[in-house]
Every structure is written in C-alpha cells, then in structure tokens.
C-alpha cells in the first residue's frame, strides 16, 4: 500500500541545513497498522508529510497504492500533530470539512449522522456548536480526530493523535481505532511517544534513530487482537516488548552525533534491520 525507497529529506534554512530523514526504505502492506517511534525531532512528522504528499522528498521515491505520490490523495487522511481547526467553524462544521470539500462524497445527511456519532464517540456531545477557542487542548485534538475519521479513509496517517488525551480516553479511542482498522481494513501509520501505545496498536513498530532519522529497527508484534492499553491479558508481553523498544530508543548509534549543521550527503550509514520476534 505504501512504499518508500531510499527516501531522504533535507531542510535548508538560513542557519544551515538539517537532515531530517535519511535512506528510509519502508513497505506498509494494505490493512497493516504500523506505529512509528523515535526521539523528538527525529523526522516522524516529516515522514508522514512525505507519504501524504505534502512535501516532495529531497531524494528517493514514495508510492501509495502503487502510484508515485505527487500530491495529496483523497483516500489518504492525515491527522496533524497540532489540531489545525478552522477558528470560525463550530466543532460539527470542522468535522464535516472533508465531506464539504469532496463534493462527490455522497449524501451529506448520512455524513452528518456519522459526524454526530463520532463526536459522541470522543465525548464531545453538547459541544457541537461551539467554536474551537472554547475548547480545551484535548477537546480540540478529539475534534481533529473526528475530522480525520469522517470519510472512512483507505490510509490513515496519524501524528500523535492521542498526545493530549487522558489515559482512559486514550484507551477507549485506541480500541475504537483498532475496530475501525479491522472492519474497514484501513492501512494506518501512527506516530506516538507512548511505547506501550505503539506496542498495543501495531502490527509492526518502526524505530527511528535520532536526527537524522534512519530506520534503526522494525519490530513485528505478534500479540493477538483485540488488545487493550489498560489492564489486560497480555500485560507481560506488552511490557517485555516495550522494554526492548525502550532500549532500542536509548541505544547510541555509531553514526549518531549532532547533525543539525550537517549535510546528509556526508553520512550514508544505513541501519535498517527487520527483526521479527
């Protein structure tokens, strides 16, 4: 479904270049749930933006559903790291935005029902007509989540979608997300800083190295679904894998140093391993 070959991204700024990503080779199968972890600033958001077609890669090729990515696609939804709500639109109207934009999307009334369902699902009933500035941070994030779910997309790219949510809401919503994935066999690439969340949700976890982001390891998760974040049957397995991932994150790579001022061309060290436990 999603295929990245030798993808790299370099940002040029007046204070020098930053190599955000280097030599990313990743293949996400249709219906797969991949979580992406890595230290802050390692290029996770950048990677999603590349897949979404919001940014052309400096090097390498990105393909979605077999076609080279040249721009955003209707069947891919992107949930941004920040809520990105339109300040003049009510909660409901923000959620309905993707439907409004895709005029061929079918019956508006049925989407409206779906929107109400989603709003209720994330616990925002009663706030449908409020404006974003009247909401708390986590409430805004939930609106953004509803917006990314409204059109039942084929591919979902989610950048820390639960970062501003409490543990309970997180659990509820991650269960819901798994249900959606199973029912519609959506392909999901999901960025999170919660290692447990990464483990509980993923078919595979991709661990990136710190700046520049290279693939340190890909960990296949074999725990049967449905899984739950809270107290659950697979607590020890989750804890065990989490521990490993923790260690992977902490591991110092030989090629790792401050590269804020360095050009990617200088470093060409690959660290892609595909470990299946």
């Amino acid at each position: 479904m999603i295929r990245l070959d030798g993808v790299g991204q370099v940002f040029d700024g007046r204070e020098g270049r930053v190599t955000a990503l280097e030599e990313i080779d990743l293949h996400v199968r249709g219906g797969e749930f991949v979580t992406l972890i890595g230290r802050s600033g390692c290029g996770k958001s950048t990677l999603l933006r590349l897949i979404a077609g919001l940014l052309p890669p400096t090097s390498g090729a990105v393909r979605v559903a077999g076609e080279p990515v040249t721009g955003p696609r209707r069947d891919v939804s992107f949930m941004f790291q920040r809520p990105a709500l339109l300040p003049w639109r009510s909660v409901l109207s923000n959620v309905m935005l993707p439907v409004e934009i895709d005029k061929g999307a079918g019956s508006k009334a049925s989407y409206r029902d779906r929107a109400h369902e989603l709003i209720e699902l994330v616990g925002l009933q009663g706030f449908e007509r409020r404006l974003p500035h009247e909401l708390s941070g986590g409430m805004q994030q939930r609106v953004s989540l509803c917006r990314s779910l409204i059109r039942d997309p084929q591919v979902m790219l989610m950048d820390e979608p639960f970062s501003a949510l409490d543990a309970l809401t997180r659990t509820e919503l991650s269960e819901e997300l798994q249900r959606i994935k199973m029912e519609l066999s959506t392909t999901i690439v999901f960025v999170t800083h919660s290692i447990e969340e990464a483990v509980v949700l993923a078919d595979r976890v991709v661990v990136l190295t710190p700046r520049p982001g290279r693939m340190r390891e890909v960990v296949e998760i074999g725990i049967p679904r449905p899984r739950s974040l809270g107290q659950n049957a697979h607590l020890t397995e989750v804890a065990e894998i989490s521990g490993r991932l923790h260690a992977l994150l902490a591991q110092k790579d030989s090629a790792e140093k401050d590269s804020a001022r360095k050009d990617s061309a200088e470093t060409d060290v690959r660290a892609v391993q595909d470990v299946r436990p």
Partner: protein, 260 residues
C-alpha cells in the same frame, strides 16, 4: 486579569456616549480657537455658524448628502466586486502578481483630481464617472489588504486543506478568504473614507448635485460656512459608514473579536 472591566469600557452606552463626548470636546476646541485667535470666518467659520447653516436648509443639504452617499456606496461595492477577485488572482499566481501588481500601483498613484475631467470626457455627465472615480480611489486598499491577508494564512491550515485535496477554489473560499476577513475589513475601513473623498472629487467636475458640487458651488458665493457644512456632513457620512462596517464585521466575524 482580563475580564474585569468598568462600565466605561464594557457598556454599550459608552460606545455611543464617549464618541459624542470626544466630538463635543473638539467642537469646543474649534470654537475656542475661532474666538481666541479671532480667526476670520472665511478661513474657519465657528462651529455654530456651520450648524446654523445646516439648519437653514437641512432638506436640501440632506438630499445632496444622499446623492454623494449613493455614489460612494455604489463605487465602494464595485471596488469590492473588482478588487477581491484581483486579490485572489494575485495570491493564486506569483507570475500574475508580478505582472499585475506594478500596474495596479501605477493606476493607484495617479492623482485622481488630474483625471477627473478625463473621466467626464470619456463617460459623460451621468453617474458613471462618479462611480468610477470612487472605484479608482478605493480599490487599492481592498486589493492589498485582501491579498496580504490571504498570504498570511498559517501554513498549518493551508496544509490541512491540501491534505484534504481541496481545489484551489476551495482553498481560497473556505480557508484563505475567511482567514483574511479581519484584515479585509481593515482594508474596507480604509477604503470607505477614500470612497467618500472620491465622490467629492468626482462631483467637482461636471456635476449638478452632491456635496462635492455644494463645496464647489460655495466658492461661487464665497460661502465658506456652506463649504464647511458640506465638509462636516461628509465627515459624518464617513464616520457612519465606518462604524457600519465595524458593526457588520462584529456580526459576521464573532470568532475574530479583538484581543487586548
């Protein structure tokens, strides 16, 4: 703490009373100046003389005001109808912007008084040269504030629209134009005063009614007081139009209320 306010700042009454207080203060100063410096009435008539002049023939002056007001509003609306699409085009395409902007600037820089007779020559004595003059005077602030407002839309929101595969038209109408509304209203507010001035200038040439004509005409009878009465009416018209726009903004853009 931000929301503890005295009645002076929060009451809607004060929103009407304070401007009137300010107005009276200036009338007082004006009157004081005419008395203390014994300013000759042909230079600066006293405010009372001006008020008196107005009440001598309020009906006629009000009908002249109506004429100017109509031209002002027509020209202003035309400027919106023409200016906003130009701004859209400018933001849409860097190439068109670079081609078109300097030309707009040049047209805008022409001293309009110098071309007023030309407009009459080209368009006759009817309403058209007046409306076009108003348009010429006020389109530029509308174009530039709309364009700059749309260009300042946060990248974050533009990326959102792009990620939804919004068409360029949708990006403009559902996002950029809406986002720019407060700035566009600032442009409107600048433009409306210019529109009023435009109607006056246009009435200096080949008109037989309107406040510009009255000002021009007052020269024929050396009636400085009449000229000032007309100028006062223009000022009031301008202030009323401005606050009308402010009210409209308040109603249309509740999400963009001022933050102090």
């Amino acid at each position: 703490m931000t929301n503890r306010r005295s009645w002076l700042t929060s009451s809607p009454v004060s929103a009407v009373v304070l401007p009137i207080v300010g107005l009276l203060a200036v009338m007082g100063l004006w009157w004081g100046a005419t008395v203390v410096f014994a300013i000759e009435p042909f230079l600066l008539p006293s405010p009372w003389a001006v008020l008196q002049k107005f009440f001598e023939q309020p009906g006629q002056l009000l009908s002249e005001t109506g004429t100017s007001l109509l031209e002002t509003i027509e020209g202003f609306l035309l400027a919106i109808v023409i200016g906003v699409p130009i701004a859209l085009v400018i933001v849409r395409s860097v190439i068109l912007e670079r081609l078109v902007y300097p030309l707009l600037l040049m047209v805008n820089a022409i001293p309009k008084v110098a071309v007023a007779p030309l407009l009459v020559i080209w368009m006759g004595f009817g309403q058209w040269p007046k409306v076009v003059m108003v348009l010429l005077l006020c389109f530029f602030p509308i174009v530039i504030s709309t364009a700059e407002g749309m260009k300042s839309t946060p990248t974050e929101l533009v990326e959102l629209m792009r990620s939804l595969k919004a068409s360029r038209a949708q990006e403009f109408f559902k996002l950029r134009l809406r986002y720019a509304m407060p700035q566009i209203f600032t442009g409107f507010k600048v433009a409306i005063s210019l529109a009023v001035i435009g109607s006056v200038i246009s009435e200096f040439v080949g008109a037989t009614k309107g406040l510009g004509y009255v000002i021009q005409q007052s020269g024929a009878s050396a009636d400085t007081t009449l000229a000032f009465a007309a100028i006062m009416l223009l000022s009031v018209m301008s202030v009323v139009l401005f606050y009308g726009l402010a009210l409209l903004e308040h109603l249309l853009l509740p999400w963009a209320q001022e933050k102090r």
